[in-house]
């Protein structure tokens, strides 16, 4: 059953997908930093308020993925910021996250060598996002 985009239910399912992924577990070995995703508001897309996804990731496991304020996400070690539409494009495989970052469509803050070292882990995380069935507010 589909869950509302960037809701607590979505976060829970996303976390389950990440922890079920052997590819992620292997690729993210050694990772010990928090990652924040800032989903910027787009009121005309029925996403009126920015939200933050805080991911507590450690050594191949998602210890916690929660949805809260953008400010919470901005306190993470790594922060990726984009408008709602871009995140939807990533989650529906319309936009590859790596290409998105190189093009500036997703804005990345954090230690670049570390994020590059874990490219495979971040690619698998994106794959995990696409496995969660989602209800998008602008499609209702």
């Amino acid at each position: 059953m589909a869950v509302k985009a960037f809701s607590s239910e979505w976060a829970e399912q996303f976390k389950d997908e990440v922890n079920a992924s052997s590819v992620y577990k292997s690729a993210a070995r050694g990772w010990k930093w928090t990652v924040g995703l800032v989903v910027e508001a787009e009121p005309d897309k029925k996403f009126p308020e920015s939200r933050g996804v805080v991911m507590d990731l450690f050594d191949g496991t998602a210890r916690g993925i929660t949805v809260g304020s953008a400010a919470d996400a901005q306190k993470c070690d790594f922060v990726i910021t984009a408008p709602y539409t871009r995140w939807k494009q990533v989650a529906t495989k319309e936009l590859d996250a790596t290409k998105g970052m190189l093009q500036g469509k997703l804005k990345l803050k954090g230690d670049l060598p570390t994020i590059v070292r874990y490219t495979k882990a971040s690619q698998e995380m994106t794959e995990c996002t696409t496995r969660v069935p989602v209800e998008w507010p602008d499609e209702n």
């Binding site: 590859d96 790596t98 060598p113 570390t114 070292r117």
Partner: protein, 136 residues
């Protein structure tokens, strides 16, 4: 490090930032950087964007796009460019092509999905750039 354009592209900023961080944390990479004099283009084929890195023995000027008169031009898809950054550096400062990442890069080179124009006359430069670029 300097950016040639008043508004560096996202790709230019990322690459410049990556190289900056790499040479800060590695004496060997810093030495390579101080000795390198070459103009290196990187064109990401699946996003139609590129940069030119002008290494000038201890300084780097990052240009948006490909500028004329480059010594080497690397042309590849985005994930291959990221793989280049993940190449391990082994003995004698040579990239490692026998692990998973290295084999992937080597295969792409053989299949033409990674092109390095100007490589044949500039192997040493290619290796030096690879070392500076690598996050390993």
């Amino acid at each position: 490090m300097k950016y040639a354009d008043p508004e560096p592209s996202a790709f230019a900023s990322m690459l410049g930032g990556l190289i900056d961080a790499n040479i800060e944390t590695s004496r060997a990479k810093h030495k390579d950087f101080d000795e390198l004099d070459a103009s290196v283009g990187i064109w990401v084929t699946d996003i139609d964007e590129g940069v030119t890195l002008e290494f000038q023995r201890g300084t780097l000027v990052v240009h948006n796009g490909l500028t004329p008169k480059r010594d080497i031009t690397i042309r590849a898809e985005a994930d291959t460019v990221m793989s280049l950054s993940n190449l391990k550096i082994g003995m004698f400062g040579m990239p490692v092509y026998y692990d998973e990442v290295g084999r992937g890069v080597a295969l792409k080179l053989v299949r033409g999905r990674l092109r390095i124009d100007g490589m044949l006359g500039n192997i040493a430069t290619v290796n030096t750039v690879t070392r500076i670029f690598s996050v390993r």
